[in-house]
């Protein structure tokens, strides 16, 4: 306490030692924070205390925050109006932060339980989505082709509906593509392969680092198949104003 008081009262001796000490404490706390993730390698320590690690990190960072504001900015012991001017918006900002985080959980619930978890697992290395049989294994090109030939009519109408909901925002209402967003689906070129199986996988798993999203979590396998057929039916229609050809020409 006396340190901060001196700082505010203009006493003409140096607080160098005090600041160096605070710097050393901050360094040690940061080192502890960095060491925490490494504890994962020691499951016998990590697992039993698992729920404690995140709160521990948060408490350490609050301590660092307090040390910088209280000592370096010497808000501690300075005039109360500075404290008021800074701490009240800080409280408001913290409330906004906490509410947004909670709202995020509530708002995304309609997308299915564990939406975030499945989305991340899906990306981390493709796994079967929990909602609906998205990927019927094995994906067989010959079977797809047979179904495609016999499926004119209803299948394409269903696929067109899915296309209108999920695809046209980037690929255009006619499938001609949009510059910097989606490729032209009406030419003979396919950047990620034009076979039934390849198209199916591109829709399900995504491409281009997620620019083409992985739809497997949001669409059922049947819907992916329908939209894949619809896209396949667009091939060679070459709508006016379509984007230039990208990728290999597929006969």
């Amino acid at each position: 306490m006396s340190q901060a008081h001196d700082a505010a009262s203009g006493v003409t001796h140096s607080h160098k030692k005090h600041y160096l000490r605070i710097g050393a404490i901050l360094t040690v706390v940061t080192a502890i924070e960095l060491a925490l993730p490494l504890l994962k390698n020691y499951p016998q320590i990590w697992e039993p205390a698992r729920p404690l690690w995140a709160p521990a990190l948060i408490i350490l960072s609050i301590a660092k925050f307090g040390a910088v504001v209280g000592e370096f900015m010497h808000l501690r012991g300075d005039r109360k109006i500075y404290y008021f001017l800074f701490i009240s918006p800080l409280m408001l900002a913290t409330t906004v932060f906490v509410l947004l985080s909670l709202l995020s959980v509530v708002m995304f619930r309609p997308f299915g339980a564990g939406y975030a978890v499945t989305a991340e697992a899906r990306l981390a290395g493709y796994v079967e989505p929990s909602t609906g049989p998205a990927f019927e294994q094995p994906l067989d090109d010959a079977k797809f082709a047979a179904a495609f030939d016999g499926a004119k009519g209803k299948q394409f109408a269903d696929g067109k509906k899915v296309f209108g909901e999920k695809c046209q925002a980037c690929h255009g209402a006619q499938g001609g593509g949009i510059a910097n967003l989606g490729l032209n689906l009406t030419d003979d070129c396919y950047k990620y392969g034009g076979s039934f199986k390849e198209l199916y996988l591109t829709i399900g798993k995504g491409q281009a680092g997620g620019k083409m999203p992985a739809w497997a979590g949001q669409l059922k396998g049947e819907e992916i198949r329908q939209v894949m057929y619809y896209i396949k039916s667009l091939k060679g229609t070459n709508v006016a104003g379509g984007q230039p050809c990208v990728g290999d020409k597929v006969p």
């Binding site: 925490l36 990190l57 948060i58 910088v68 370096f72 939406y115 997620g210 992985a214």
Partner: protein, 214 residues
């Protein structure tokens, strides 16, 4: 409120940056520039609070990769975090030296702070270019957008701070910094600098470290 503040607690007596109403000091006897800086920093709390809040609102909701754990490098980020923490310490030492009217010493600390800050920005530029080469851009996903906007604004703040500190050190070199006002001038720059540091303390813990704890 103001009455209570005006009848200052005893320990404020003799404080060299206030005590009388003048062009620099307001009716509370406080330097306007310092009061303004604290008010500004309060508004900055809301600014960064919203950006960090938005990041967490959309956390884990990206439809495509790369994921945070796939691009974050704890080694790189912890080095730059450490540099920024140390820059806060050198800044505190600069304010201390100015208060004691050791301006040339203060200048050295201010320059050290600016160099550490510039190094931090350099690390951030390197980090951003790594992320882009790994396929994470501003427009890639919710993660990309919220991450780059949040950390980009922080980096911009550090950059402004570096310019400010460089100008301060030039003022001191040229003898243009009024010795009587130097204490408040440097202290206010310090407040800004420390604020930029605490924003990074929050981002480093919540955005980076917590990702590796899950």
């Amino acid at each position: 409120m103001s009455a209570e503040l005006a009848t200052a607690p005893g320990h404020d007596a003799g404080h060299d940056d206030h005590g009388h109403v003048s062009a620099e000091n307001n009716f509370l006897g406080l330097p306007n520039i310092k009061l303004a800086m604290w008010a500004f920093l309060g508004s900055e709390c809301m600014f960064f609070g919203s950006l960090i809040g938005t990041y967490f609102f959309y956390h884990g909701k990206s439809l495509g990769g790369p994921l945070p754990t796939q691009v974050f490098s704890l080694t790189i980020t912890s080095i730059s975090t450490f540099l920024l923490l140390m820059s806060s310490m050198t800044m505190a030492l600069a304010v201390d030296a100015t208060r004691l009217r050791k301006l040339s010493q203060a200048r050295a600390y201010i320059l050290a702070t600016a160099v550490l800050g510039a190094t931090f920005v350099g690390f951030q530029i390197y980090e951003f270019s790594q992320f882009v080469s790994e396929g994470l851009k501003l427009q890639t996903s919710l993660f990309g957008s919220t991450f780059f906007v949040m950390t980009g604004f922080h980096g911009a703040h550090v950059t402004v701070g570096v310019i400010w500190l460089t100008m301060l050190s030039m003022l001191i070199s040229n003898g243009k910094l009024n010795k009587d006002k130097a204490s408040v001038t440097v202290e206010v720059a310090g407040l800004y600098w420390h604020f930029v540091d605490i924003v990074w303390i929050v981002i480093f813990t919540f955005v980076y470290l917590l990702e590796f704890i899950k």
